[in-house]
Subunit: 393 residues, 2 copies
DNA sequence: CTGAAAGCGCTTACAG
DNA sequence: CTGAAAGCGCTTACAG
């Protein structure tokens, strides 16, 4: 019998850990945390793949074990229909016995496919540091994007490589893309001035952008109807009797900021509400809190508030209530997103849902179509937002 | 002159978008969001790399352009010291002119290096769905891990591939690792019962685990001294005069849950405090809120609370204050982590800092050492937590 | 349906 | 210091 499959358990750990050596070394951060270094439990050698020092078997070895040619092994692995059932079975047994796994480098050298796509999250204004990544890993939006894209890609056995990037870093990303690490890119870019969508487009590699690019680009994108969402919020606030409306917008250099603000205001303007106070937020919880405080002190009579993201709404709710107003009785609040943050709010947040998971899945589908047929014309897909009524309005 | 480098801008977009076609299609989610599909702006062909249909130039083309052999081009690209300065310069010019970028598949086929490592985030108990990813992309802990690892890897030009996984999915991950996509793995695994650390170890691929594995394993890991952190919290609470202490722990099937609870209790027990109410939380904000409510209704006299994570502490603070208690005067609260959540708290959270970024960077360093020298013995590194005093205690 | 052979684009001993 | 050649582990026309 050949080497066992890798899934076979190695010899279990048995030795107790050796005693701590207790050498302490200086930490690297400002905290200067001390640390001990000690030898780990030594229970087995690093490589246990019997007799082959950790080397994976090669396709030739499988072929030999099965008594066929390498080409045949390749065919059964790739599901070529033309293989005799008996031979296929022999090959499959040989694969199982040897624990064979194809070498991806060799494969993609000839197929020119990597079977993975990049999810590039571009935030041009922030330095590439802990706070940038903190924002990405703290805003539910990106989790939904990842979930949606992964779900759509997985059935096709395509991996997602997540690449956060800021403007100091575009060069690296472009280089990475050109090196053939991935077959295409899902680009999350939300700032008007971000040059990355155009740069990626000019690479000629299949790409789908998360929102309509600020300047026209012959690229596919998927988006939600931002203005309609804002209108839904205005309608609802009006319908429940609010008459002094105000809004906390997102950053105005993002379509998601500007379009929601503009959609809200222009709907109201058409109904005679021309004085609609607004203040520009930053899509963070803390920002929402500050904005609400400012808004309510400048305009104490506000009775309806549209906040352009759930995260900001969470902070706004806190400020409104700190100021002694009841929600929704004194001030009704509508958010935007319907992310998990909406359920962290007290009272539960009434909000405009954008189907982010479905949007990300659609991005992935469109991307796969472009990869499969490189000449395909770009297209855009727009989803509709919906009102989700809970407690805050 | 050869083809322009990819960084050269293509012809700018100029056409206006074509009119929306307005075909609506059924959505896929329960929300049934409608969507429009329309043709994107057609301003230029997908591939603009002049004359070569998007194909990257090959090393042979660079060699020809520079008038040298392919081997020499390879040497200058890989920084071999033995290349004549003039020749090097010619080659570099040829590289710039052709916009050459090495093909990673070809390179790693021979070097057997991918220049990337995986960050596997394993959460065995949850289904691989939106809520699982939502947790990962919402808990500041993972952002800090990513930031720390990225920072350490970047100078070495090594990419991080982030792979969230649950127990239904281990097989895929193991397969991915065996296929040679990465040179090593950083494994974030916090549940006792998680089989993944052992499985990864048995693969024989370089790996570093984020915390001491529950069962002994001859693997390298880095951790924080959990018990010491809990003791720091107890000391501080006692020092500020609290006498009725209680704690909200993490899940008890995680070392981070059990060790913090046990460290807290055993320190107090040695000082005569044998009655220390505790309740098991789940490391989420909502969970912390529920636990605090339960704790305070069952034990109304509690005056000091140690909460095993900042996220839970944020929820606990809300509950404590909802119940009409002042923080810290009636109830003092100490968290654990010193993540960004500590600053989202009102009052600002006093907490036990674990230097997560530095820990992740250390994981990356140790991993790179293992990759460079496969025979290296495993070792563990322990960081010390520190008390960060703010407002809540 | 199967195999022998060429070739994907690099790196790296080995000569010179 | 440089080049000719072998080879990394696959896939895929091309014959048979």
């Amino acid at each position: 019998m050949a080497a066992p499959a890798a899934e076979a358990p190695g010899p279990g750990g048995r030795g107790p850990e050796s005693a701590a050596a207790g050498r302490s070394a200086g930490g690297r951060g400002p905290e200067s945390a001390l640390r001990e270094i000690r030898a780990g439990a030594i229970t087995e050698p690093m490589n246990t793949r019997a007799g082959r020092g950790g080397q994976n078997p090669t396709m030739d070895q499988v072929a030999e074990a099965a008594g066929v040619s390498r080409a045949t092994v390749s065919r059964v692995i790739n599901g070529a229909p033309s293989v005799d059932a008996k031979i296929r079975e022999m090959v499959e047994r040989a694969i199982a016995e040897t624990g064979y796994v194809p070498n991806v480098a060799a494969r993609s050298l000839v197929t020119r496919k990597s079977n993975s796509v990049a999810l590039v999250i571009s935030e041009p204004d922030r330095p590439y540091d802990a706070s940038f990544l903190n924002r990405i890993f703290t805003d539910p939006y990106f989790g939904r994007i990842t979930a949606g894209a992964t779900g759509a890609l997985r059935p096709h056995d395509i991996h997602l490589v997540i690449i956060p990037t800021d403007s100091t870093d575009h060069h690296h990303v472009l280089r990475y893309l050109r090196q053939g690490h991935v077959d295409g890119v899902l680009l999350i870019s939300s700032h008007d001035e971000d040059p990355l969508p155009r740069q990626v487009h000019d690479l000629g590699i299949p790409a789908v952008v998360s929102a309509r690019p600020a300047s026209p680009l012959a690229a596919s994108f998927v988006d939600v109807d931002q203005r309609l969402g804002a209108r839904l919020a205005a309608e609802h606030l009006l319908a429940r009797g609010c008459r002094r409306l105000a809004t906390i917008s997102g950053p105005l250099d993002m379509p998601a900021g500007l379009d929601r603000l503009d959609g809200f205001r222009s709907y109201l303007a058409n109904r005679g509400y021309t004085e609609v106070p607004s203040v520009e937020g930053d899509f963070t919880r803390g920002g929402g809190e500050d904005c609400a405080r400012r808004l309510l002190t400048d305009h104490p009579d506000i009775d309806g508030l549209f906040v352009a993201s759930d995260l900001m709404a969470e902070g706004a709710l806190r400020a409104v209530q700190d100021l002694g107003r009841r929600v929704p009785d004194d001030v009704a609040v509508v958010g935007f997103d319907d992310s998990s943050a909406a359920l962290d709010c007290r009272p539960l947040l009434t909000t405009i849902r954008q189907p982010v998971e479905e949007m990300a899945a659609e991005m992935a589908e469109v991307l796969m179509a472009h990869i499969a047929a490189p000449g395909r014309l770009p297209r855009s897909v727009t989803f509709q937002p919906t009102l989700v009524i809970r407690e805050s309005a």
